[in-house]
């Protein structure tokens, strides 16, 4: 991939709000056809980062090129070639479903006729053609989200920027959105997304960046990250006694010691469950696969971010 021009080329990005550094020297690239996920707790700087990418927020330092164009001078062209789903459903409540798409197309200088055609196609794509004349305020949360997605596709973008695309949706709606994103990805659309859902990141993203305090903690493919930071097998010991705590501390296994629980990370062939189970599992042990959530919590800590 080294010889292709990256869709996004960010070097040392910085963003400061009233003296607080939200993004602190972030460098990353997004390659054509790739789906890159930005993960991090609240306040990690995800939204600040992608807002710089779609030229919403000016940056305080570093350099940023999208499609090889410097964002400082070419912001209008860049914005014309990308599609953005912001965190909030900021659909236009004064307009109908269809008009939301048609008028948005006009902001891109798409002709009226093309706007109409494109809007109809997209309504079909998100399965909302039967609601085209309705007010957007009458739509369910999931429908609104799909409409926001359709709106972001109105200009046939070369890159899609998604800020928490499925936050607040019920499982059915989330899967509806995912299926469409997977279709788009399969068609070669490059995607940059942020999410709080690890299953979403695992399912959609080719590569992940986990960040905190405006900096990158780790970067890699989901499977690799899991293997590296959480192993393969996980054993959770509920209400562990002092003996098992001591045993694990001296055993050298990757683990997290919590108040009422020990989480032990190991390889497939470590046979952790058998090892622990026979001796210590008085109150209950859970054996499960390692997940991205383990990686995330291990790297960013378990304290609340508020």
């Amino acid at each position: 991939m080294a010889d292709t021009v990256p869709i996004i080329d960010a070097k040392n990005l910085r963003k400061v709000f009233n003296g607080t550094t939200a993004v602190d020297g972030l460098s990353f690239q997004l390659f054509p056809g790739e789906c890159l996920g930005l993960l991090g707790p609240n306040g990690a700087g995800k939204t600040s980062t992608i807002r710089m990418v779609y030229a919403f927020s000016p940056m305080n330092g570093g350099s940023l090129k999208v499609f090889g164009i410097d964002i400082k001078t070419g912001w209008r062209e860049i914005k014309a070639r990308i599609g953005v789903c912001q965190q909030e459903n900021n659909l236009d409540p004064d307009l109908s479903v269809l008009q939301n798409l048609e008028l948005f197309a006009r902001y891109y200088d798409i002709t009226k006729k093309d706007a109409k055609d494109r809007a109809r196609q997209l309504l079909q794509f998100i399965a909302l053609e039967h609601r085209s004349e309705d007010k957007v305020t009458s739509l369910s949360g999931g429908m609104m989200r799909r409409l926001v997605l359709a709106r972001a596709l109105i200009n046939n973008p070369e890159m899609l920027v998604l800020d928490e695309p499925t936050t607040g949706l019920d499982p059915q709606s989330r899967h509806q959105v995912w299926e469409r994103l997977e279709l788009l990805r399969a068609n070669g659309l490059s995607i940059l997304l942020t999410t709080h859902y690890m299953d979403e990141a695992y399912r959609l993203c080719d590569r992940l960046i986990i960040m905190d305090h405006g900096k990158i903690l780790v970067e890699g493919e989901p499977v690799d990250l899991i293997r590296r930071y959480a192993g393969e097998q996980v054993v959770e010991i509920v209400n562990p006694g002092p003996e098992v705590r001591e045993f694990i501390q001296t055993s050298g296994y990757m683990h997290d010691m919590l108040d009422h629980r020990i989480i032990l990370y190991g390889r497939e062939d470590d046979n952790l469950f058998e090892l622990i189970g026979e001796k210590f599992c008085t109150e209950g042990c859970i054996k499960r696969m390692a997940t991205l959530e383990d990686v995330f919590l291990r790297l960013t800590g378990r304290e609340l971010r508020e």
């Binding site: 209008r76 062209e77 953005v84 909030e88 900021n90 006009r106 902001y107």
Partner: protein
Amino acid sequence: MIDLLQVRNISRRFSRVWNRNLVVYRKIWLVNFLVPLLEPLLYLTAFGVGLSALIGQVPYEGKELPYVVFIAPALLSITMMYNAFFENTYASFVRMYYQKTFDAMMATPLSLEDIIAGEIVWGATKSVIATAIMLLVVSLFGLIEYPQGLLILPLSFLGGLAFGATGMVFTGIVPSIDMFNLPIFLLITPMFLFSGTFFPIDTLPDWAQSISHVLPLTHLVNLCRGLALGELHAGMILSVIYLLLLTVIVFPIALVVMRRRLIK
């Protein structure tokens, strides 16, 4: 940092923002038309039938005018001010703050400056539409001299720009929508009363006259009355310059305060 060259970020795409507002306006055009259609009838009945019996003639520029002839241009001027000012305060604030319409637009090739320019020009357009309807009504009563009276339409655009841009400055700085009460109480209502609208300014004490001459509505009324009576005079040139200057100064300030508010 204030970048006074923000104006350069305005492109012809501002018309798309204007068009969006027009589409929404047309959805309830009947309601939108009704106010400028009926409002002058209310005023003319109240003032023309009720008050003018008491007042009789009003001295203006060395002539005696029937009271309804005197106030008809003022009603038009007030309509220009209200339509643009309220559009670019309450209505723009709702779109910006509650509906997040501007946020969505800023993810497209539109610049913030395109959006604000589109909003202000839309405010001026609303002023033109309302003025045109009202002009039609008062003309039926024979209160407007033509062809000079036709110039009231371009005047309503200029007045709309000046008052719309002023309203947009407040939209850029008020913390909440209720705070618009303040500029309305301190600026709009005094102008409504003391800009030579319902009585000639020269009946006021000198100090009050000086204040009155600083108010933009005074100049709008002065122009509108001159055109409606079909009597153009030199003082009108100063009033045009005043309104142009006001627009040229306030418009960039609106861009600056909106950028400060929205670009983070």
